[in-house]
Amino acid sequence: MRHAAKTHASAPARPRGSRLRTNGLGPLGAAIRVVLLLLLAVFFGLPLLWLLLAPTKTNTQLTDWMPLAFGSFARVGEAWKNLTDFSDGVVLRWGLNSIFYTFGSLLLGLAVTLPAGYGLATLRFAGRRTLIWLTLITMIIPSSALVLPLFLELSYVRLANTPWSVILPAAFFPFGVYLAYIYYATSLPNDLLAAARIDGCNEWQLFTNIGLPLSRALLGLLTFVSFTANWNNYFLPYVMLNNSRLFNLPVGLQVLMTGTSALRPTFATDLPIRRAEVALAGLLLVVPVALVFLYSQRFVVSGALTGATKE
């Protein structure tokens, strides 16, 4: 981890004159490259920009105006009011649930993950290799493959339809254990640990006095991965939760999409949940993650996040 960050940091420090990669591109090649990359920027960027502008317009303005026209901020306030009035303010409740589940899984996950990664990296014990293999396997299997079996299991022990059925499975964070394991194995000075052991530190003291204080970069990385995965967690709570007061925002957004006529323009109802309101609810989910992304993109480029994009 640390050396990966270092190689990344050293990249911009290369002298400006030696831009060897650019050699042999030629003016035509450079132009083709720029045009292609700009077209791609339209593909990736335009839908997000549209979503950001959608709550500023009324339903009629959305169809009649230019797609990227800006309506008014007053209209955003109106959409916000309609959204929070929906079903006695249940949207705010979903938002609070989302925060509770996300940070519950994050904190519990970190409390379990950091000692496990540390133990795997610095100690030798029976079953260690088996545990590493099981960690690798479970981190690569798509989490959606486990959702139905998890539901069957948790309904057998009568935990389904409780907040725990969402928080506990998401606190199981094998990718985090793998990252912590690699981090501690490559960045902890072994001599320091040995010296502290001779001075009479026990293993737990080593972890809290040496391991944890050196974990800042690791903590940032794990928080980023866990937050983005859990904030958007949909399939698991959708299957586990039955009581709409327990839903998180993604499942709540699904209720807005499927339980109202917002996306069925032919069904006219008095309920003021229309495209703009649903788009605003979608933004509540997208914007926090997008901000975290902007801040943490360097983790991904440093190569530290290999394996983070499993679906």
Binding site: E153, N232, G307
Partner: protein
């Protein structure tokens, strides 16, 4: 058991360290057992169970649940659907990501960085939000790509979202939300290619395109294999997109469309948990096969980081 004091000390210390290691990993091992391995084992048991009085009677059903699930009239259809989806999404995804990463990597600078950030941001869009955005973007009346859709002769959203076009639409949706993360990973891999190798190629007369094709691409091949396997394993599990597009009523599409939807339908629509377990076990085995393939065929993950 212990003969002398002198011999006892190192042994006792060795044993203490073993215990410490176990204590460090114990909470994690419990979670792994409960939420990583347990569900698979339980689904296995359940797939042979019958249900009397609402509680499972384990190993009473023989293969009946498998017969029910795998001979269901929708079984072949849902697998044909995802097979078609994989046939389009795998090549589009892998080739698209590799080409974009190589294009970006040809020249350093703020333009490339800005583009990379724009490609990366849609990764924040997932699950229901992605479907919501898709319903908007595929609607010729409001889409930001309105003029393009109208030029292609589409008038309403159900012209675009049709059963036959679903594999392509899910591919576009997956690429929109997922490509940026992969591009960043490939870009990181390209950055780790040694500068000397690229300099040598340039001196030997490689232009930018040739060095991308002959030097960089072969060096990032392990990542291509890794992405292929993970994308395959992930895309097979498709659930939210067909489920939500149908439920939102934006366009009529046949249900269930994907295997996971069929498993869900068995559990929640028909109350047949045994057949649901038989299907989800099959999906789990596909995921497991993908995981073992990644660990066996690529060198991306290390088991022995500490020894290295």
């Amino acid at each position: 058991m212990v003969k002398t004091v002198a011999a006892a000390r190192p042994r006792a210390r060795g044993r203490a360290r073993i215990q410490a290691g176990h204590l460090f990993v114990l909470p994690y091992a419990l979670l792994l057992l409960a939420f990583g391995i347990g569900p698979g084992i339980y689904a296995f048991c359940l797939s042979f169970a019958t249900f009397a009085e609402g509680r499972p009677q384990f190993f009473q059903a023989g293969l009946a649940n498998y017969v029910t699930a795998y001979t269901d009239f929708r079984f072949a259809g849902v697998f044909r659907n995802v097979a078609l989806f994989l046939l389009i999404s795998l090549p589009v995804g892998v080739i698209g990501v590799v080409v974009i990463a190589l294009l970006l990597h040809m020249r350093e600078g703020s333009f490339g960085t800005a583009m990379r950030t724009i490609y990366f941001l849609p990764g924040a869009v997932a699950g229901p939000t992605a479907v919501l955005l898709a319903i908007f973007v595929f609607d010729p009346n409001i889409s930001p790509f309105q003029s393009l859709l109208q030029a292609m002769g589409y008038e309403v959203v159900s012209d675009v979202i049709r059963p036959r076009s679903l594999p392509l639409l899910f591919t576009l949706l997956g690429f929109f939300a997922g490509a940026g993360g992969w591009i960043a990973i490939f870009y990181g891999a390209l950055n780790s290619i040694s500068q000397e190798v690229l300099e040598a190629a340039t001196m030997d007369g490689c232009n930018a395109w040739q060095s991308a094709w002959f030097i960089k691409l072969p060096l990032i091949r392990p990542y291509v294999a890794y992405m292929l396997i993970l994308t395959f394993a992930g895309n097979v599990q498709l659930f939210a997109e067909p489920q939500l597009i149908a439920a939102a009523g934006a366009a009529p599409i046949p249900q269930p469309w994907s295997p996971n939807q069929l498993g869900y339908e068995f559990a929640f629509g028909l109350g047949n948990f045994g057949a649901s377990a038989a299907i989800s076990l099959l999906m789990l085995l596909i995921g497991l096969a993908g995981a073992l393939l990644v660990l066996r065929a690529t060198t991306i993950f290390r088991v022995d980081a500490a020894e290295a």
